[in-house]
């Protein structure tokens, strides 16, 4: 019957088109485009990672390892610096503002764990900048003044 013919032709055309249109890598690992994995993994990174910083800045690492900020990674404060790692001469990290930066972690907040060092900045230093007394890379107070 005519109807059956119409349906048969339609189905055949669809199957034919499917052969062309389905992406090649589809189904490689599962019901998705296998190439997508490599595409996603190929994205450039923005944070260099502390191992990279430490290849050049080993002196800072030495200082940091002796203090309370030993486990704080470089880019936690200095921001994303892959560009700097790629081209250390032309790309310089931004200068940091201690008052804003330190307060982010150390401003007292009732929800922070009790044992975490936290202060109310105004009461603690009376408005003086944090890095007047504390060196960020090794924050313990030593003889009261940074160098």
């Amino acid at each position: 019957m005519r109807l059956a013919a119409v349906f048969l032709v339609g189905t055949l055309l669809f199957l034919l088109a499917r052969g062309f249109l389905v992406p090649r890598s589809f189904g490689q690992y599962g019901h998705y485009r296998g190439n997508a994995i490599a595409e996603i993994a190929a994205r450039p990174v923005a944070f260099a990672g502390h191992q990279t910083c430490e290849t050049c800045h080993s002196d800072v690492l030495e200082l940091k390892q002796k203090g309370r900020h030993a486990r704080v990674n470089c880019e936690a404060c200095h921001g994303a610096l892959a560009k700097h790692a790629e081209d250390p001469v032309s790309v310089k990290p931004a200068k940091l503002q201690a008052a804003v930066l330190c307060a982010r972690c150390h401003e007292a907040n009732i929800a922070k764990p009790k044992q975490f060092p936290q202060v109310v900045p105004a009461e603690h230093s009376g408005g003086a900048a944090c890095d007047m007394c504390h060196r960020p890379h090794s924050p313990a107070l030593d003889s009261g003044k940074r160098k």
Partner: protein
């Protein structure tokens, strides 16, 4: 009113599915319901509703043609929608949409309409002129055979298609209910009752739509309404509505009784943000009132004019009520936080791609298409009365 009340997960504040996704199940519901009404005559031999047979089929087609449009407009990348046909993910109910839709459109609805109208198409291809003649010639698919034997075959095949069509119609709309009902992350949606509720409310809306259209079109053409037909349709509407209402009440009572983790948050939502659309529009005006009105016509012996008014009012209220039901499911399911600690607001645009204007346009479009279809494939004869499905002589 601020956008967020209480706490929402940060990514939950914006609603994902808009009024267009409310419209889609409404449209496919009308399709399924209209088709079931048509099958009442074909398969269950309910003689009285014969006059609505062809109109119901054309209504179903008109709405089915428009149904994918709200979905396409909603997609971020509609140009990629063929992917649903090329690589459907078999674990996803939504992936089945493409195939169920295509099956229902081509293998059920179009075939059934073609088979029923074939004799008229052949006759019109021979008697009309100009571009109309061309359209009819194409529709004949090249066959001029309208002998008794051929028509008998048409009748048999048509009957078979309708029999297949009933579960297909259930599937077409039931899977939409499943799309919502199977989302375990959303307690407003996740219930095994969802496909059943969707289906019965679809039948209610479809029957009400055909009833209203039948009365309206006959009034427009100044042709007397077959009251025996309309009384029967209204009776079926009444029965179906009782079942639908019972199912929805069952869901509600069950929720209230079990009072699980989500209950307090949902209960508060229904009493505040969803009060107007759920309690006032859907339940009271859209369900209880039409049922009461229809019950009146079943219990009392009312004069024809009164019955016509009641049917019209009840029909329109029903259509509004079922739309509200879709709204409450889709939008309601996104107004509360999955943390059960807060609520957000739906900001419906007006002239945006997924806004109110678009929703109104897409609601009117099927009626325009129906207007074209009744001109092309008239469900009535020159003299006026609705043509009944062609019996073998």
């Amino acid at each position: 009113m601020p956008l967020v009340d209480g706490f929402m997960y940060p990514n939950e504040v914006e609603l994902q599915w808009s009024v267009l996704i409310v419209l889609y199940p409404y449209l496919t519901g009308l399709v399924a319901g209209a088709f079931i009404l048509a099958s009442l005559e074909r398969v269950f031999r309910v003689e009285a509703v014969k006059p609505t047979y062809r109109l119901a089929l054309l209504t179903a087609l008109a709405f089915l043609l428009v149904a994918p449009l709200p979905l396409q407009l909603h997609l971020g990348h509609p140009e990629r929608s063929p992917e649903m046909y090329l690589t459907p993910h078999r674990s996803s109910a939504m992936a089945m949409f493409g195939f169920v839709y295509l099956w229902y459109l081509m293998a059920v609805l179009v075939v059934e309409i073609w088979l029923d109208y074939r004799r008229d198409i052949v006759l019109m291809s021979q008697s009309s002129h100009g571009w109309k003649r061309l359209i009819y010639r194409v529709l004949t698919l090249g066959s001029d055979n309208i002998s008794e034997r051929a028509l008998q075959i048409d009748e048999r095949v048509g009957w078979l298609v309708t029999v297949i069509g009933i579960p297909s119609a259930f599937l077409l709309h039931g899977y939409v209910g499943f799309i919502f009902g199977s989302v375990k992350a959303n307690p407003w949606w996740s219930t095994p009752l969802m496909p059943v509720v969707f289906l019965f409310s679809a039948m209610v809306s479809g029957i009400a739509a055909v009833m209203c259209l039948y009365m309206f079109l006959n009034w427009l053409r100044r042709v007397p309404i077959d009251m025996r037909c309309v009384d029967t349709v209204a009776r079926y509407l009444f029965y179906t509505f009782i079942i639908d209402f019972s199912l929805e009440m069952l869901d509600l009572i069950h929720r209230i009784y079990e009072a699980d983790e989500s209950f307090r948050s949902l209960d508060f939502m229904v009493h505040t943000r969803l009060f107007t659309s759920q309690v006032l529009i859907q339940i009271l005006a859209g369900t209880v009132l039409p049922i009461a009105l229809l019950a009146l016509t079943q219990v009392l012996k009312l004069p024809e004019a009164a019955r016509k008014s009641i049917y019209s009012v009840a029909g329109l209220l029903t259509l509004i009520g079922i739309f509200a039901m879709r709204w409450n499911v889709v939008i309601g399911g996104q107004l509360f936080s999955k943390s059960f600690l807060g609520y957000t607001t739906y900001k419906m645009g007006f002239v945006t791609r997924e806004g109110l204007l678009m929703a109104i346009f897409l609601s009117i479009l099927p009626l325009l298409i129906l207007g074209v279809l009744v001109k092309l494939l008239p469900p009535w004869s020159e003299k006026g009365a609705m043509l009944e499905p062609q019996p073998p002589a």
